[in-house]
């Protein structure tokens, strides 16, 4: 019981993102008109290039959204960390390097990155 009384837990909401791509940034890319060079000029090299079969490929730009920081302290020791979500911008190109689709997505904590990429792409096709 004494140990419980001496333990403290704190969660501080911290809406903070690193390298997020905004809606305004995305609005300059138009599916069907923009090409790969336009994307590279605007967003630079992607974090990941996903090749689907021989013809299509997706540029993935990743960033992290920090939701909160937490800390637990008890006695003479303490530990802490961050609660964050992975977000990404996916840009799908056709075989002629024209933008076919552009989509922002948030990865759920319960899915793998592969499932997240597949979900983002399929949601847009539906």
């Amino acid at each position: 019981m004494v140990v419980l009384y001496l333990t403290a837990c704190i969660v501080i909401p911290t809406p903070w993102t690193k390298d997020e791509i905004s809606k305004e940034d995305i609005s300059v890319i138009t599916p069907g008109l923009s090409i790969k060079d336009d994307v590279l000029k605007k967003f630079d090299e992607p974090d990941v290039i996903w090749e689907i079969g021989d013809k299509e490929r997706v540029f993935v730009y990743k960033w992290e959204r920090l939701r909160a920081v937490w800390a637990i302290a008890g006695g003479y020791s303490a530990t802490g960390g961050g609660i964050s979500t992975d977000e990404a911008l996916l840009i799908l190109f056709d075989e002629t390097d024209h933008v076919k689709m552009i989509k922002k997505g948030t990865k759920s904590g319960f899915e793998s990155y592969g499932d997240f990429l597949n979900r983002c792409l399929n949601e847009n096709k539906e």
Binding site: V48, G53, D54, L117
Partner: protein, 220 residues
């Protein structure tokens, strides 16, 4: 009933402690029936690799101890991790092949990225992070391939003298790491231990720089 429960709890605790202690130990880990199902359905391939290490120009047996990754650490990233490298304990086929540096992973078709690091001498967090800055080797696993030989990673290392005698690896000479081809030996291991897995292909890993490329087959 209560007496039975009283006896069960300490027994279960001992069992859990034993499992935890043994989880880091090396086992000769041939694929299970479930693994074979995944291989036959084309969802996974056995990816055979060899690590050959040398210190001061002399061959050094890299898997000497009973703990899975005590002389070399592995991390792999692929489509499922979005290219992010995660620590992976290798599997071994037999004690003889292990002595020669052979190991295998069970991987999906597509690109995978491998990073290796010398044994951990500092804290766990720094060690885990060190894989992110390590050179990357790209493995290309073709679809519908039972067994893939991805090459022999030849790693020159710098000697670390141990307190009670003997040596270990302090660091790798990363610029001198090369991929060698031991296809004949790999074919022999595949024939001896996995004769039912076909086809056998050799696709040597390549050093990778630049953005991570992930590859998946087109879904019909």
């Amino acid at each position: 009933m209560a007496r039975k429960a009283r006896r069960f709890v300490p027994l279960a605790t001992h069992y859990l402690i034993l499992v935890t202690l043994l989880s880091g130990c090396v086992t000769m880990n041939l694929p299970s029936a479930k693994d074979y199902e995944l291989i036959y359905s084309g969802k996974r391939s056995i990816v055979l690799l060899r690590i050959s290490c040398e210190i001061d120009g002399k061959p050094y047996e890299v898997f000497r101890h009973f703990v899975g990754d005590d002389d070399i650490g592995f991390a792999l990233g692929g489509f499922e991790t979005g290219g992010e490298l995660l620590r992976k304990i290798p599997k071994f086929i037999s004690s003889e092949t292990r002595k020669d540096g052979w190991l295998y992973f069970l991987l999906e078709p597509g690109y995978h990225y491998l990073a290796v690091q010398p044994p951990r001498w500092g804290d766990v967090w720094s060690y885990e992070n060190s894989f992110k800055s390590a050179p990357l080797w790209r493995l290309d696993i073709p679809p519908q391939t039972g067994i893939v030989y991805a090459g022999t990673l030849h790693i020159p290392g710098i000697r670390q003298k141990m307190l009670f005698g003997g040596i270990s690896i302090k660091s790798f000479i990363t610029d001198s790491i090369v991929v060698r081809n031991d296809e004949e030996a790999a074919r022999k291991i595949a024939g001896d231990f996995f004769p039912e897995l076909q086809p056998f292909k050799t696709v040597l890993m390549v050093k990778h720089e630049g953005p991570i490329i992930l590859k998946t087959p087109k879904k019909e």
